[in-house]
């Protein structure tokens, strides 16, 4: 089955979404990440969506679910790199992603995670 690679960076996990995902691939990522958080005891997850050209309500829901599930497993999720056009469209669509933390890029995302887990990565 097709799946996206998840990389371990110190105590955090990193996923870079670089393809136009079909729905099943996004659902597989959701499951894979949850398992990987448990396996590695990761303290945080960075999801890089800088190459993602749209975020529709389905992908929005996946990002919210990942974030919620990770928090139940005591890991923080930061969605990084959203393109401005995607952000504008998302808001007009009516998706607020209120419960999803975001950062402008991976470096800022790591800073955010480090800030909530004092020791640096």
């Amino acid at each position: 089955m097709e799946r996206l690679p998840i990389f371990k960076m110190g105590k955090y996990l990193l996923v870079t979404i670089q393809v136009d995902m079909h729905d099943q691939l996004a659902l597989t990522l959701q499951d894979d990440l949850t398992i990987k958080i448990r396996e590695t005891g990761a303290a945080g997850v960075l999801i890089d969506i800088s190459a993602l050209e749209i975020v529709d309500s389905f992908i929005g829901r996946i990002l919210s679910t990942i974030s919620l599930t990770a928090s139940v497993l005591d890991a923080d999720t930061i969605v990084v790199g959203m393109q401005p056009a995607v952000a504008i469209t998302l808001v007009e669509l009516g998706l607020s992603l209120k419960k999803v933390r975001t950062a402008l890029n991976i470096d800022k995302g790591i800073e955010l995670l480090n800030a909530s887990h004092d020791a640096p990565c």
């Binding site: 136009d20 995902m21 079909h22 729905d23 099943q24 050209e53 749209i54 975020v55 529709d56 309500s57 389905f58 929005g60 829901r61 393109q83 401005p84 056009a85 995607v86 504008i88 469209t89 007009e92 669509l93 009516g94 998706l95």
Partner: protein
């Protein structure tokens, strides 16, 4: 006046949604839509194509490029023969969902487009027509 273009794409599985999104992006670029306009049209396409697949049990979309003296546009007509939408007004309300979605698909897509119309005759034909115009 430039030539009108029309093509029909099937929506029978998830990868068809990806294909339709890709084709709509190409047409939007050919029409010189800005990146934000492209993103809005492709996002609305994704929402409605998924509705066609999940709620309509699959169908097709007709993609048309429109040229008028002062504006050009991209018209998408999604057609399915599924159970349809009983209460159209309710279906267009944000956060109304009959399924597992967020209930933003129809109302949200309407906001992303210039024109948006739905007609539904359960099990005969449900049709969502939407256009995004760009002034020349």
């Amino acid at each position: 006046m430039l030539e009108h273009q029309s093509e029909t794409k099937p929506i029978a599985c998830e990868t068809d949604i990806v294909q339709v999104r890709r084709r709509v992006r190409e047409l939007a670029i050919a029409l010189k839509f800005s990146l934000i306009e492209q993103t809005k049209v492709v996002t609305a396409t994704s929402e409605i194509a998924r509705n066609t697949l999940i709620y309509g049990n699959g169908g097709e979309v007709v993609l048309e490029v429109l040229h008028e003296p002062t504006r050009c546009g991209l018209k998408l007509t999604f057609i399915d023969h599924g159970p349809g939408i009983v209460d159209l007004e309710q279906a267009l309300t944000d956060h109304f969902t009959s399924g597992k979605g967020l209930g933003l698909g129809l109302g949200g897509s309407k906001r992303l487009m210039s024109e948006f119309e739905i007609s539904s005759q359960p099990y005969l034909e449900t049709r969502v027509m939407m256009i995004r115009w760009r002034n020349k």
